[in-house]
């Protein structure tokens, strides 16, 4: 007698009776329906976003008040050296007359030690740039920041006009040096700081307080006279 046909769905169950049978499908039924794992992707992306955010927060929020951070512990200094160093720092300060120029506020301070003897409205460099269309030469009209010294005190200064003065005015550069001489523009006094930079007077007092110069420091007549008389050759000039 022919054995009975196997059932369409074969089953194999080695487990105890009563347990849920494992079913293996064959043929077309074996094809698994692919479902895109949106949830996995969503949670994964969300988790990653949170982790990145957390890393940013953990990395970025770790601050103390500045005063609570320990200073580096010095090693190469001898005992008892701190007071001597403090005195040496104080010794660096100019105790006599010095001049400070604030180029943003256009103020000049005549100082003696830490005392302000005179505060004057001045004019400093425009910060602009001039280019000679004929030669391509370029000049930046900026008051040089840093430490300078008075190299020369000049009464009734004469300005030997440089090339840029003619280029800016749109006139040819003279070949005769006598045509460069200007006896009026610098006022009655000038302090030479070197490299062509001066503290001098102006014909255009109305422009004091504005950054309109070619790099020099301009002062009003009274202030210029006071500063000129107080300063000596070698007086430090701090421009910031």
């Amino acid at each position: 007698m022919r054995p009975p046909d196997p059932p369409a769905v074969s089953s194999f169950d080695a487990r105890p009776p009563g347990a849920t049978p494992l079913v293996f499908r064959t043929g077309a039924a074996a094809r698994v329906r692919f479902r895109f794992p949106w949830k996995v992707l969503l949670y994964g992306f969300g988790g990653l976003l949170l982790a990145v955010l957390a890393a940013g927060l953990a990395g970025g929020f770790g601050y103390r008040e500045l005063s609570t951070v320990p200073l580096p512990r010095g090693a190469a200094v001898r005992h008892g050296e701190a007071p001597r160093l403090a005195l040496q720092i104080a010794g660096q300060e100019p105790h006599g007359i010095h001049i400070a120029v604030d180029t943003i506020a256009n103020r000049l301070y005549l100082m003696k030690g830490t005392e302000v003897l005179r505060e004057a409205v001045c004019s400093t460099g425009t910060g602009g740039v001039l280019t000679d269309p004929a030669t391509g030469r370029r000049w930046v009209f900026e008051t040089p920041r840093g430490t300078h010294r008075v190299l020369q005190k000049i009464k009734n200064p004469v300005w030997n006009k440089p090339d840029w003065a003619f280029v800016e005015d749109g006139v040819p550069i003279p070949k005769d040096s006598a045509e460069r001489v200007d006896t009026y523009s610098l006022g009655d006094y000038a302090l030479n700081l070197g490299d062509g930079y001066l503290i001098h007077g102006t014909l255009y007092q109305r422009l004091l307080g504005r950054s309109v110069t070619h790099g020099c420091v301009r002062l009003g007549d009274e202030d210029l006279e006071a500063v000129w008389k107080a300063a000596a050759i070698g007086t430090r000039v701090y421009i910031y």
């Binding site: 996995v40 949670y43 949170l50 982790a51 955010l53 957390a54 890393a55 940013g56 927060l57 953990a58 990395g59 970025g60 929020f61 770790g62 601050y63 103390r64 500045l66 005063s67 951070v69 320990p70 200073l71 580096p72 010095g74 090693a75 200094v77 005992h79 008892g80 050296e81 701190a82 007071p83 160093l85 403090a86 040496q88 720092i89 010794g91 660096q92 300060e93 604030d102 943003i104 830490t114 460099g125 425009t126 910060g127 602009g128 930046v140 920041r145 430490t147 280029v167 800016e168 005015d169 749109g170 200007d182 009026y184 523009s185 014909l203 255009y204 422009l207 504005r210 309109v212 910031y240």
Partner: protein
């Protein structure tokens, strides 16, 4: 997945809540060596005759100085010192003296127009000899005024040995936009630290100074290439200074 999200949230909360602020109290007591090392760095800067910055961590204050004298003080509203938690290591100043290594971009300078020769206008009656009416009204707006307006209020400076100084020019530190900016700033810092750590780089400690916007602009314009920054300590026994050990 929920575990991951929960863990991340926990980390987030830990990071945010753990803003490591020690209670502001009396300045720490400095020993002789620490004080002398800081003073030595300041003396070296003063002897250079160059402009330098002095940061007083105890005040806190930031000064522009030269030859041992303060030219300008930039009032600091709040000052924090931090290092990413990802960096590891102790929170401490790496050195007493630093050198600015950030590239300071040359500002965009206005061009000065070349004047066209024109028939001379009559000078005012009280004008001095040599008065030129064409020079009495400059054609350009002073560049320094423009430069001041264009200068950034938020910027970061990198010093060597490795130290980042972030300047936040904020009108109101406590207002919402300010808080949002700071949160964003710290997130970016955190990610940068993570990036540096992953690439085996040193994560520098960072100083965050909050100043007024105009002070931030002025400070930016006062910077010079390779400028020094030194830490200030008061001499032993000076009024307001730390108590000697």
């Amino acid at each position: 997945m929920r575990g991951l999200a929960g863990g991340a949230l926990l980390l987030l909360l830990c990071g945010a809540a753990g803003a490591d602020r020690a209670a502001a109290g009396a300045p720490p007591r400095l020993n002789e060596k620490t004080r002398a090392a800081a003073l030595s760095a300041e003396l070296a800067a003063a002897k250079s005759h160059q402009l330098y910055l002095v940061l007083d961590p105890f005040a806190p204050e930031l000064d522009l100085a030269v030859d041992g004298i303060v030219l300008r003080r930039f009032p600091v509203e709040s000052a924090l010192f931090g290092r990413s938690r990802l960096a590891g290591g102790d929170l401490a100043w790496p050195a007493d003296s630093y050198t600015l290594v950030s590239q300071l971009d040359e500002p965009e300078r206005p061009k000065i127009p070349i004047q066209t020769p024109a028939p001379a206008a009559a000078p005012p009656p009280d004008a001095k000899p040599g008065f030129d009416p064409s020079h009495a009204n400059p054609a350009i707006r002073p560049a320094s005024e423009e430069l001041l307006e264009r200068a950034p209020t938020h910027f970061r400076l990198r010093f060597e040995p490795a130290l980042d100084v972030s300047i936040l020019g904020e009108a109101g530190v406590a207002n919402l936009p300010g808080r949002l900016w700071r949160a964003r700033h710290r997130l970016i810092e955190g990610w940068e630290a993570l990036w540096q750590r992953l690439h085996g780089q040193t994560v520098p400690p960072r100083v965050v100074l909050t100043v007024k916007p105009e002070e931030a602009r002025r400070l930016f314009l006062a910077l010079l290439p390779k400028m020094r920054l030194v830490l200030k300590v008061m001499p032993a026994g000076a009024a307001g200074g730390p108590t000697p050990r």
